[in-house]
Symmetry: C2
Subunit: 382 residues, 2 copies
């Protein structure tokens, strides 16, 4: 497979927007911004890959029409919260295979029009029907983690404090002001021990990147900097057997291993991480599952500043899902935007110094009886 | 890109089924049948690609769980009526690129649970809001064709007669008995001049194929016959400008050209066609757009038996969308099943003699102001 590079990125700010800010408006804004950032015109784009969950049939074509991309090969990709990353993966494979040289990847979601309260699991999900919804599952994870590793409520809450502090510097984030540990711990309870700030919000937004082969970059006279997509692993969760450890994170370990092997680097080489922190505790157990932090030490290390900007392994400089926001189909692509900006030294006040390798991780959806539905791990190198 | 082969196919019969025959039941049935036909076990499958429109988030993962495929890389692909073919295309690229060696592709749809009457266009489709729904568009196409080329109502109706006659021999078809020209012409009007039998039905169903690289075939000791996927082109419709000819079919011409060029063969080399006959007239104008029949002669040639089994270019030996049925996400994959059976001499009473090269075409969805949303052209060679 040929090497594939990210040559431009663009976003529409995440947030809650009125109905006239449609999915198409959001997607078109991000697509235009990414093409402008790359310095390419619609005519230069060979193919369009769009990730979304709730956009309805041929949403990608509706977006493409608004930015002069009608006529191109366009495809829509759904893998719940990994949808944007799955679209990137298919585009990465197509460019790598030589099917096309320059592809636009768009992740987009307009949630506020259709999601009231939280995202509801599939009606056929028997666990969820019994009350085991997303928040409940992560609450069990937190309780188990606290018991097994002697972690405190405050250490887990610190993930939210850290990620909100980071996104003060991110103009695309839904929330751009700091919150205190007291605010997180004393917030309205959602599923004990987790409160409101332990949960990622309902969001609208879009993120897009332009990727290209070396041939594509030559054709368009692009000189970079253009970090490489060194790997993009995808796995799904296996069927749970009996009373296992909810924090085993076998699915993260497998996803990470697939990506590390393909990229030829290990967790010790990663300088910056964009992590799927749909809940505070999720950031901790997934970092451990990926081998980025030692088992059982994630909570303590978070409190110690290990994963803060300025620490040894900054995690979610963008603010993550908790504070940048979580328009589900856009999240995976927004992570790639952030890594692109970090690896090219354009991340402003949230810049990770000397970032040479970044990892982005998404975990999407549930299927009753399995440990997740779709997990992606992208590794990018400067 | 490496050469990719179809090594097995399986379907669930198309039809209208009660609620307990769920999307998951249909998809799992087809997946199991395809793996059994290929002689492979779930452990042999490297990745799963699923096409559907209305199945909801991570439908592919729900199907995979039922057939022992949890844990694999699984992705869901939507491109309206081209969804099954788009899933095939992404799998074909991934196997071609060397990302995996053996992939399962599933197209599936459970329509009867959620579609009452016809498929409704997107609420944002302004043409549709003014009455220009799918049936109305194809009625205009038929009227224009009759005026421009002196075609008769009977010649257009003959497409339905032919395709119903073909599917008498297809055990997977929704309809398996012949209908007469009088029945088609005198049926309940839908959009003048088109009547009920000029329109494809609402259907439930699933179709699956296993594809593999030569390395994958060696690993699994598969000796074939294994027709090659010689090309899989994808384009979208361009923005209509002014009062053009509704039957120009520029989008089909572009889709066909992309596939012919990649495969290195031309329309004159095609022995059998699976055509997206969502309406009778659509089969005619699309065959002409693809260069498979001369412009303006499709209706006359259909009446003359040119596209019937036993004629020079049999079209829709399976019965096509009109008679095999049209569970939208499954249609593109069902076409691949049919070409696989035709090219391996296993099509029974509907076998096209000496079929060496086949073409499958899908046209999916509408985006207001464009000539279609997603068009795929697959070329397979024995």
């Amino acid at each position: 497979m040929r090497r594939v590079h990210v040559v431009g990125a663009g976003m529409h700010r995440f947030g809650k927007f009125p109905p006239q800010v449609t999915l198409e408006v959001l997607g078109a804004h991000a697509a235009t911004a990414a093409m402008a950032d790359a310095g390419v015109a619609p005519a230069d784009i060979d193919a369009v890959y769009v990730g979304h969950v709730f956009g309805g049939p041929v949403a990608g074509q509706r977006i493409a029409m608004r930015v002069g991309l009608s006529g191109k090969p366009i495809s829509n990709h759904e893998n719940y919260c990994s949808s944007g990353a799955t679209a990137l993966r298919e585009a990465w494979i197509a460019v790598g295979a030589g099917i096309c040289d320059v592809a636009l990847v768009v992740g987009v979601e307009k949630m506020t029009d259709r999601i009231k309260g939280g995202v509801r699991p599939d009606p056929g999900d028997l666990d969820a029907a019994m009350g085991f919804i997303f928040a409940a599952g992560h609450a069990l994870s937190a309780r188990r983690y606290m018991r097994d590793h002697g972690a405190s409520r405050e250490e887990i809450a610190m993930v939210a404090v850290k990620n909100h502090a980071h996104s003060v510097h991110n103009p695309y984030a839904q929330y751009q002001k700091p919150i205190s540990l007291e605010q997180v711990v004393n917030a309205r309870p959602i599923a004990d021990p987790l409160g409101l700030y332990d949960c990622s919000p309902i969001s609208d937004g879009a993120a897009a990147v332009v990727i290209a082969s070396a041939e594509g970059m030559r054709r368009l006279s692009l000189t970079g900097p253009a970090p490489a997509v060194a790997a993009c692993g995808l796995v799904s969760g296996t069927v749970l057997r009996g009373l296992g450890d909810i924090n085993e994170e076998d699915v993260s370990a497998r996803a990470g291993q697939a990506a590390y092997t393909f990229a030829g680097i290990g967790p010790e080489d990663i300088d910056v991480v964009e992590m799927h922190d749909c809940f505070t505790i999720a950031e901790i157990v997934r970092l451990e599952g990926l081998g980025l932090l030692p088992r059982g030490e994630g909570a303590r290390l978070t409190m110690a500043g290990h994963t803060s900007l300025g620490g040894p392994l900054p995690v979610n400089p963008s603010g993550g899902l908790l504070s940048r926001g979580h328009p589900v189909g856009a999240t995976g692509t927004a992570q790639i935007c952030e890594l692109y900006w970090q690896l090219t030294g354009r991340a402003g006040g949230r810049q990770v110094e000397n970032a040479r390798a970044g990892l982005a991780y998404c975990k999407g959806g549930s299927v009753s009886g399995t440990d997740g539905a779709s997990v992606t791990t992208v590794i990018m190198t400067a």
